[in-house]
């Protein structure tokens, strides 16, 4: 960066944003680590987006209860269950409706909205989280059943200011577009890598009796097929997992056609047409 400008310390936070950043631990329930992470990311220049959202939300959070607001006459939850949820390393004890699935507990009670609801029926994979290190669907997991288990969500994958390798690889290979299925894809990928290390087989494994820990592209595709991406970012997802799994960088699959090549093609058809 040139020193022409008055400051060169990265993008400046507005007073609002500074204030919001300070407020973050109170806005989110789980984990102290995130604050550091967010701060670091902002310094990295790309994390402003989360802050913009906080700013928008703050306007709502400041809303007062309107006079005349209508509440349920009988708001009580039937069949409450007391559950100690250990999520991304922090334990929270909540009283939940027995009907509440883990996905809704994360999104509606714990403000961990990184885990996404795509179908709520086990048919898309957007809600994938890791429970005791294994990838599962949080939409079909009753919150009450995870008592005592370790839940890791997308919010818990990055360490301090460092993205998880799978997260970084997804950015590198553009393994997403709209981003909605992405947390589920990433949690699923982390699960897939662990399964591969254990030597688990899949539908495309030629010989289920032979043990291998190597993932071919077809293996990655099959194992990631429980995560639907409607934007169709599958090739980027495969490339990202391939790199994390094997350390191999994937070649670009696009290029510009320029200069001489273009001229040659044009010349060829002119020649064709004179024939």
């Amino acid at each position: 960066m040139s020193d022409e400008f008055d400051e060169s310390s990265g993008p400046e936070l507005t007073a609002d944003e500074e204030a919001l950043l300070k407020e973050m631990p109170t806005l989110t329930d789980v984990g102290q680590a995130r604050r550091t992470f967010m701060g670091q990311t902002i310094a990295g220049g790309m994390g402003l987006f989360a802050l913009m959202l906080l700013e928008k939300e703050r306007a709502l959070a400041a809303l007062c209860t309107e006079p005349g607001a209508v509440f349920a006459a009988a708001p009580a939850v039937e069949n409450p269950v007391r559950v100690a949820l250990k999520i991304n390393g922090a334990t929270r004890t909540l009283e939940l409706d027995s009907r509440m699935v883990l996905l809704d507990a994360l999104r509606e009670r714990l403000e961990l909205t990184g885990t996404k609801k795509g179908c709520d029926q086990g048919q898309c994979g957007a809600c994938t989280v890791l429970v005791d290190g294994r990838r599962v669907l949080s939409c079909l997991t009753l919150a009450a059943t995870v008592e005592g288990k370790e839940v890791t969500t997308v919010e818990g994958l990055a360490k301090e200011d460092e993205l998880h390798p799978v997260q970084a690889a997804f950015i590198k290979y553009d393994g997403f577009q709209c981003g909605y299925c992405t947390p589920g894809q990433i949690c699923s990928a982390v699960g897939v890598l662990a399964e591969a290390r254990r030597g688990d087989v899949s539908h495309v494994t030629e010989d289920v009796n032979a043990s291998t820990t190597r993932l071919t592209d077809d293996e990655i595709r099959e194992r990631m097929s429980g995560n639907i991406c409607r934007c169709g970012a599958y090739p980027g997802i495969v490339a990202a997992i391939r790199e994390v799994h094997s350390g191999r960088e994937s070649a670009r699959t696009w290029r510009f056609v320029e200069g001489e090549e273009l001229a040659r093609v044009r010349k060829e058809w002119e020649a064709d047409e004179t024939v």
Partner: protein
């Protein structure tokens, strides 16, 4: 989803007693099917007895074969060395189903009990005798591309959608269940599921309150020559149009023993004794497999939109046998 009481069972006996005591209680295993159906208001239990913490998830060698805990996860079962080595057909069938996440959740017992994927069953606004006896069958003269070609009745044309049970049937597995009174019984997999007849609301021959505790696999001579083929509308994460569990015991190029079980063609895994009879004693050859396939599908009675399953079924049987016998 209707309100329900959540109970975490401490042991199998208590779990069975709790469910038996309440006609509207259900066991909760992996939850992959029942929670979906509860959200759709298809299943309406008022009590769920969570059995997932019971010690019923062991997979161990037993009397020449292997005993699989009912609460072992599908993925652990498929990847267990005893299964991969001795029953690769079962591994193949399990990993052909659902997705990695679902297989990490689903229990073996729950998988046996998974309900049909008939669209009319899923939609509470539609007639369905399985969901609501007496309302009629929406699929009989409706959209029935994915429905049964064997064993259906005018009350129900739904299929059993699973994969694992087809392999278990081919492998002569036995389901062990325990009733509320503590009485245990063993049900051969082939007798576990029912044909719809006049009571399609009953998928299986399990009594209310009976808990599946294990699935026993006898010693098998099929490990060398078996194959699970699944044909579906996309490459993965979809239910079968037709599937085939094929298992052969070969001796000097001739079939000594055979199993042919078709999936997604009937209300239960559909074993073709006709095909097996056509195979046994004959050579392991494409020609012989074609005859077996003809025999397997000879009795099919397709509906308006699933006639293709007859031809597809034949081809799938041939293909599965070719793979099983390593001719392809």
């Amino acid at each position: 989803m209707r309100p329900f009481k959540y109970v975490r069972a401490s042991d199998a006996a208590a779990a069975a007693r709790a469910v038996a005591a309440n006609p509207r209680a259900k066991f909760l295993g992996g939850g992959t099917n029942i929670l979906d159906l509860m959200k759709e208001d298809v299943e309406r239990p008022n009590e769920l007895v969570d059995v997932t913490r019971l010690k019923l998830s062991e997979i161990k060698a037993a009397s020449g074969g292997v005993s699989i805990g009912a609460l072992a996860k599908n993925s652990d079962t498929a990847n267990h060395p005893l299964i991969r080595r001795n029953y690769p057909l079962l591994t193949q069938a399990i990993v052909a189903g659902a997705s990695g996440q679902l297989r990490n959740m689903a229990t073996n017992g729950g998988n046996l009990l998974q309900r049909t994927r008939c669209q009319y069953f899923y939609d509470t606004a539609m007639p369905c005798n399985k969901r609501e006896p007496g309302t009629g069958c929406g699929a009989l003269e409706g959209l029935n591309r994915i429905h049964a070609i064997f064993g259906w009745s005018d009350k129900c044309v739904a299929t059993y959608p699973g994969d694992m049970a087809n392999a278990l049937y081919a492998l002569d597995a036995v389901v062990r269940v325990r009733g509320a009174s503590g009485r245990e019984r063993a049900i051969p997999v082939g007798e576990f599921h029912r044909l719809p007849g006049d009571t399609p609301q009953q998928d299986s021959n399990l009594a209310h309150g009976e808990l599946i505790t294990a699935i026993d696999l006898p010693k098998s001579n099929f490990a060398k020559n078996s194959y699970y083929l699944k044909v579906r509308d996309r490459a993965s994460y979809a239910f079968a149009l037709v599937s085939v569990a094929a298992a052969l015991e070969l001796e000097r190029g001739r079939v000594k023993q055979a199993r042919v079980v078709l999936g997604s063609v009937a209300h239960k895994p559909w074993r073709s004794l006709e095909a097996e009879a056509a195979l046994v004693g004959g050579p392991a050859s494409e020609e012989s497999f074609r005859r077996a396939a003809e025999a397997a599908l000879a009795g099919a009675k397709p509906l308006a939109h699933n006639g293709y399953k007859v031809e597809l079924g034949k081809r799938a049987v041939v293909r599965a046998l070719m793979r099983a016998s390593r001719l392809a």
